[in-house]
Symmetry: C2
Subunit: 235 residues, 2 copies
């Protein structure tokens, strides 16, 4: 049987083999929730970029520039990191260049995998169906918070494992921990996620409606995939 494992933070990704694997990148608050929302609302492609400076070079090339540092929109960028910003009509058919504290880095550090997908509660069911029918071992790569594990990404990892547990072998203790965490919290998922340190930080920026939105389950039936450096809905 194929296996599913979890890496709690990009700082531990070197402990995992990426070769021949499907990697699911997760940054629930808020990068991967934004990516799923944007693509579901017609954004053509989203290019993850590590550095602010390089992102700014993409404006003149026609990209909408998006992202944050420490929860705040970057000066000179067009939009920040709220899933509501990604629902604006003018973004349809545009490309977005995104640079965020944790999420962009997790995508970039997943390079070497056979396939890189993006996961969020917003596309949980579609993603799980895709994974059950795919042929590779799976690694859930949580963006975490500045190199440490976070609660909301771990909860999502557990939720995704729970969805596919009949078809895949749970591999390694990080996956066991995430799964047990989700099982114990799933009846109060929103309340549990809002207790996370990151949620507490973001609430200071008035983003509580963002957080509630990011915890909505299976709102969008899409599975974004990295193709030639950009996240798209494969045709």
């Amino acid at each position: 049987m194929r296996s599913i494992e979890v890496c709690f933070t990009p700082d531990l990704i070197r402990q995992h083999s990426l070769k021949e694997k499907t990697v699911v990148v997760v940054d629930i608050f808020r990068a991967t929730s934004c990516i799923v929302t944007g693509l579901a609302h017609g954004v053509k492609a989203i290019k993850p970029i590590a550095e602010i400076e390089e992102t700014l070079l993409h404006g003149p090339k026609g990209y909408v520039m998006a992202g944050e540092r420490g929860g705040v929109v970057v000066e000179g960028f067009d939009i920040g990191n709220s899933p509501f910003e990604y629902q604006q009509d003018y973004l349809a058919s545009r490309k977005v260049a995104i640079s965020t504290t944790n999420g962009s880095q997790a995508v970039l550090k997943s390079q070497g995998a056979s396939e890189i997908l993006v996961g969020a509660f917003l596309n949980l069911e579609a993603l799980a169906m895709y994974l059950v029918e795919s042929k590779r071992d799976i690694l859930i790569h949580c963006a975490g918070w500045k190199g440490t594990p976070n609660l909301e990404d771990s909860l999502f990892a557990g939720a995704l494992i729970d969805e596919v547990a009949e078809s895949l072998t749970i591999s390694g203790d990080s996956a066991l921990i995430a799964h047990q965490l989700f099982i114990s919290a799933h009846e109060n998922l929103l309340a549990t996620a809002l207790k996370s340190s990151h949620a507490e930080r973001l609430k200071n920026f008035g983003t509580e409606q963002d957080l509630v939105f990011c915890m909505e389950e299976s709102k969008y039936a899409i599975v974004p995939k990295l193709i030639e450096g950009e996240l798209v809905i494969p045709t």
Copy 2:
């Protein structure tokens, strides 16, 4: 209020400040369980050492040489990494030099803290009482498994947090995850711990009785502390 935080693996310790903190090193299967057992049974001091070669230099100095790599006793060492070996009469009043896959490394990577203690289920209650009455912020440093988090150390971190939660603020998501994990598993703690990847590996070496012993709670009322490079019961 003072805070208590968790680091799931020595590979993430650089994300935490050690300054002015009390660090509790944890390697339930089996190094810190052995250390607590040995000191409780009269071993005079236990010196954690990273490398096998350096450990071998301690034999001629009168140390009992102890430790394992990958769960197996090292060739040339006197004892391995079973808590039952640490209960032998001939060890009383002797010093032990210990080098293990994960545990020794976690002690050594905790240097810089104000105080380094050793925790296991075997001394849970005594350790919790000590921490409640101490004056510093606390960091639980889990040894994990070759750089990744493991289930049994995370369960212990959660158990210790649960013991002191009325007196200390839970700081950071790793501590929230560990605490939630313990709460959900505490009625089946042994069964949960035996599901860990490390337990599965160790069972292949016929060590199941070791694992059951390591999960016994508060058998010994001691708090080992690192003093001048050696773990002792402070007088």
